[in-house]
């Protein structure tokens, strides 16, 4: 059979002189027909040539990563796993740190850029000893870099296990490299920028850690459409991130302030971070220190004021896990009463008035228990209109 093909090739070569120019000359070492032809029976009308890279193909034409397709779903080989969603554009932009498209599309002939499967056979595996089959080609491309960049060679980095009903979902943002793949970075505590053109108020104090840990922002809330080359050079060193407009990250949340109130960020000096007690009058120390903003202020983006009563957040049948300091309510309990559970007195649940008669025949005088210190509380807002926490004068924000 092999000989037949070779003979057919030679005949084809001599019968079609136009093609023969590129065709290996008779007598020269003739490669197997399938090296260049898709079909084993190429004809004059249809030479059935592979668009495949041929030996000595010229360099791939240059393309901008911005022209590149966003995603590819690689499903030619998926059986154990669901098809791989390959964020192509993201990778294309990375190659701009290197040699461009050719970094992956090696030996691409002039003309359109070809995918891996244009040359690498799906099956049979190892039909061509000189080049890996499609499976090997894919893995070598991916792991050639990934094993060094992030040391990740686990299958699940790219593959999700095939389970019944598992859809192939595109991630929301193809460029979400920070959210998808980036190894953990420790965020800086504070970044102080100096805006030279803001006379008198040049300093902008950005409390980075606070935004992440306290306000619970995800990296991608600010780091959108980033790719490797926005922060790294080709030696992987991290460089300062460049933005077209320094306001572009802040404006997504602080739209109004960025447009109307420069002093919201720009100040004469460096500013301290957010302090709940100073801003709202509610002391977080001891019991609420580790609580993130959104646990009490669930409305994303615009934090509404929250009533200071326990039952604003805690359910009526909540049992404190640690003894609470009742004095913060304005009533300090004596030793006996401190032993009781909340609902022993607050029979209607937390937040309802204590019912002394549940135990005592007559209502005792508890005025002597009253602490002189005013209860730590802020007046509950009259309406449920959002309190714009980050809005207002500089005095209110950072007094």
């Amino acid at each position: 059979m092999k000989y037949l093909i070779v003979i057919a090739c030679v005949i084809t070569a001599s019968a079609f002189p136009s093609a023969a120019q590129e065709h290996p000359a008779a007598g020269a070492e003739v490669p197997a027909c399938i090296t260049c032809h898709v079909s084993e029976n190429p004809t004059e009308q249809d030479a059935a040539l592979k668009a495949c890279p041929r030996p000595n193909a010229e360099a791939a034409p240059a393309h901008e990563s911005s022209e590149s397709p966003d995603f590819f779903i690689l499903d030619k080989l998926s059986d154990i796993y669901v098809p791989v969603v390959f964020p192509h554009k993201l990778h294309a932009s990375m190659t701009e740190m290197g040699i461009g498209c050719e970094q992956c599309h090696h030996n691409n002939p002039p003309g359109p850029i070809l995918g891996c499967s244009a040359c690498h056979e799906t099956k049979p595996e190892q039909a061509n000893l000189k080049q890996p089959a499609l499976k090997g080609a894919y893995h070598r491309q991916c792991l050639g870099c990934h094993r060094e960049w992030d040391h990740e060679t686990d299958c699940v980095v790219c593959h999700a296990k095939r389970e019944p009903g598992h859809p192939v979902a595109l991630p929301a943002d193809s460029t979400d490299i920070m959210g998808m793949l980036h190894p953990n970075i420790e965020e800086p505590d504070i970044k102080v920028y100096k805006a030279e053109d803001m006379e008198g108020t040049p300093f902008v104090s950005f409390h980075h850690r606070e935004h992440v840990q306290l306000f619970g922002l995800k990296c991608t809330a600010c780091h959108q459409r980033e790719n490797c080359s926005s922060c790294h050079n080709s030696e992987q060193q991290a460089l300062p991130r460049e933005r077209e407009d320094p306001h572009q990250d802040c404006v997504r949340c602080h739209t109004e302030q960025v447009n109307n109130d420069c002093t919201f960020c720009h100040a004469e000096t460096e500013r301290p971070g957010f302090n709940h007690e100073q801003r709202t009058g509610f002391v977080l120390s001891t019991f609420h220190e580790g609580v993130t903003c959104t646990q009490c202020h669930p409305q994303k983006g615009a934090f509404t004021g929250q009533k200071p009563e326990c039952n604003a957040c805690h359910a009526a049948d909540w049992v404190p896990t640690k003894p609470i300091d009742h004095a913060v309510t304005g009533v300090a309990l004596d030793e006996t009463h401190a032993q009781l559970g909340c609902v022993d007195c607050h029979t209607g649940g937390i937040g309802t008035p204590a019912v002394c008669e549940a135990c005592h025949d007559e209502k005792p005088d508890i005025s002597k228990w009253s602490t002189n210190a005013a209860p730590v509380r802020v007046p509950a807002p009259e309406t449920s209109a959002p309190v714009e926490e980050h809005k207002g004068t500089g005095a209110k924000r950072y007094d």
Partner: protein, 306 residues
Amino acid sequence: MDLNRRRFLQFLGAGAVGGISTAVTPAEASSVENISDGYGVLVDTTECIGCRKCEFACNREHHLTDLPLERYEDTSVFETERWLQANAYTVVNRHPNPENAAKPTFVKSQCLHCLDPACASACLVGALQRQENGAVTYDAWKCMGCRYCMVACPFQVPAYEYGNALTPQVRKCTFCASRTAQEGGLPACVEMCPQNCLTYGKRSELLALAHEKIAGNPELYQDHVYGESEAGGTSWLYLAARPFTELKFQDIGPEPIPHLTETIQHSIFKFGALPLMLYGMLGAVMRIAKGGHGRHAETTAEEEVS
């Protein structure tokens, strides 16, 4: 254990050359030249990522362990060097790369399926045999459990089921003979390897390919195909970016080991007394030479006399 076995082999070799090599002429030993062109595998260690999928595929194919696929992603196993066992026909080891710590070298080990296998020559009953296709296969039915093959193999490949009291077998890579017997069939490990760093094919073609790869990328590859000539040539061939000795490959000359072992084995039948004397002498020599440390080698020698 390795050391003991290897040293024992050296003694055997020395004995054979010094003592009785004149008794049997080399012409009687098999020669590599007339071995048919079987199949082999070219392992390109520069492509291996240490994913251990080959181990998984082999263990599943031969029912060696039933660990689930996910467990093979545990890279902590690389912290200690592992070697072939009765329930592990292939293992992957990691070798640190002094030039690029982020890119260590991984090496898959298994039986190399020698062209002129020492294990088969050492086997008195022909339980181990080289097949036409290159595989060196084992027939448990013929095996009498003498474990000469384990001593003879220069690569310390055959393992023994010491834990199996009733029907212990010698265990080693089978080259997936039953799979490759089918049209287009590939060894399980070769088929599974996601990197295609294992290439299965005719040994002669693989050798040509290996040299082509070296010529095409001389900066990357060492100019040496391990297995091309080691121990008379092996079916499994290796390419590497670093000297093979750094990757713990045995530095073995081109002389087929069988020429040494076979000389002794054949002599047993020809001149029974001579080897017995030799073996007795060896036992004595080893006892003296190794003192308290030579316990294993000593027993091996005595077992062989009995």
